[in-house]
């Protein structure tokens, strides 16, 4: 195995705990807003690390860029989605926990 493959695999492995922590937050946090915090941040860094790792591993620039594009699309979707859910929740009178 070459150095780049090691690096790629390491990054992919590094991404997994972030995805898991997002799920953990989803299960443990007390209300919609805090769960949104956990998901939006954890999942995107996790997916980002996995994409970068896979891109390094694939050894092809076009594949790496396409992975990056998919990540950016997921970023757009989840940042907008998180904002939409949070704003609608507040507008509907869902009170944040602990306030």
């Amino acid at each position: 195995m070459t150095l780049t493959e090691w690096l790629g695999t390491a990054l992919v492995i590094a991404g997994v705990p972030f995805l898991l922590s997002g799920t953990l937050g989803l299960l443990r946090f007390p209300d919609v807003y805090t769960r949104l915090h956990a998901l939006a941040k954890g999942d995107n860094v996790g997916l980002g690390l996995i994409c970068v790792g896979l891109g390094i591993q694939s050894g092809s620039v076009t594949v790496a860029l396409k992975l990056l594009l998919i990540w950016v699309l997921m970023l757009i979707a989840s940042a907008t989605g998180a904002g939409l859910i949070a704003r609608t929740a507040l507008a509907r009178g869902l009170k944040p926990w602990g306030l």
Partner: protein, 315 residues
């Protein structure tokens, strides 16, 4: 280690699918049912990938996770203004057992029928005919050349569905609710060009790899639903829904024309001359994709769209 892990993968996937199917059909809360079904579609895509069917995974991603999800969620929004449905609280065991027995019998009969199928399948036959098909992707070849008749009927079914929906009356108001957030138009504006590019890309892929008219049409249709929810103004206005009618029937009309012209030049119904197969399939693919996109979008509207979009919010 690898076989063990892949068994674990299969078992997890199967367990999750069964649980979600049960939730989708039997959960007390209607919204939970719908969300379970959407996630069910997501995991089905993983199952298709596991079964070496990327074509179907693509279609499932676009139709299952995209269009059907949007259809169900917005139907839910319209349903809940009515009195809530009763949850399946009264569970009578004799009835359940009878239903399960019936289901098991049907399953056994179907299984027996499947068992009788000729073992090798048609893989060799298709592979043998691929050089004449005009495309390199076997599934596209089967869909638009060898079994084009099925495809014609299928777009026909979709067209019939839209005709049925239109016959139920005009689109219920409000067609699109007030825009809840300024982020929505920004999202639609940003994603719409990507939808256009992805549609063309899937069409291009379809000629030699998984992809094709259905997937492309479904992605474009889902994109249409997204941008109309994001506050875009539709173009298709005009008396008697003129442009709508043309676009919706474009796919069927082109396929029929292709089929009839093959009979006119002395071939059999839908038997393209070998030299022209690639060109004919290209035209069929493009028109079918446009029609499928429009048909799915029209199906989302739940009724005949208005001749003018004035009077609807934000237009």
């Amino acid at each position: 280690m690898a076989p063990l892990a892949s068994h674990a993968y299969d078992l997890l996937l199967a367990g999750a699918l069964l649980w979600l199917a049960w939730q989708a059909t039997h959960a007390a809360d209607l919204f939970r049912s719908v969300i379970s079904f959407i996630v069910f579609g997501l995991l089905m895509a993983l199952a298709w990938i596991r079964l070496d069917a990327p074509d179907i995974a693509l279609a499932e991603a676009a139709i299952g996770a995209g269009v059907t999800g949007a259809l169900l969620l917005s139907a839910l929004g319209r349903l809940t203004s009515a009195p809530a449905e009763k949850p399946a609280a009264t569970r009578r065991w004799p009835g359940t057992i009878a239903v399960l027995a019936l289901a098991a019998t049907v399953l056994a009969l179907l299984g027996a029928a499947a068992w009788q199928l000729p073992a090798p399948g048609l893989g060799d036959a298709v592979a043998g005919h691929m050089p004449r098909a005009g495309v390199d992707n076997p599934v596209t070849g089967v869909l638009l050349n060898f079994r084009a008749f099925d495809t014609l009927l299928e777009i026909g079914v979709l067209l019939l569905a839209v005709v049925a929906i239109w016959s139920l009356g005009p689109t219920p108001e409000p067609l699109v609710p007030a825009i809840p957030s300024p982020a929505l138009p920004a999202l639609g504006r940003m994603l719409w060009p990507m939808f256009v590019l992805a549609t063309f890309y899937l069409l291009w892929r379809g000629t030699h790899a998984p992809g094709g008219a259905f997937q492309a049409g479904a992605v474009l249709g889902a994109g249409g639903i997204l941008v109309i929810l994001a506050g875009a103004r539709p173009w298709l206005t005009g008396e008697d829904n003129g442009p709508w009618r043309w676009l919706l029937s474009l796919g069927v009309v082109t396929m029929l024309l292709a089929a009839l012209s093959t009979t006119l030049i002395g071939q059999r119904f839908f038997e393209y001359p070998e030299s022209a197969a690639a060109g004919v399939i290209l035209v069929l693919e493009i028109t079918a994709a446009i029609s499928i996109a429009m048909l799915l979008f029209a199906a989302y509207l739940n009724g005949q769209p208005p001749a003018r979009w004035r009077g609807y919010p934000h237009s």
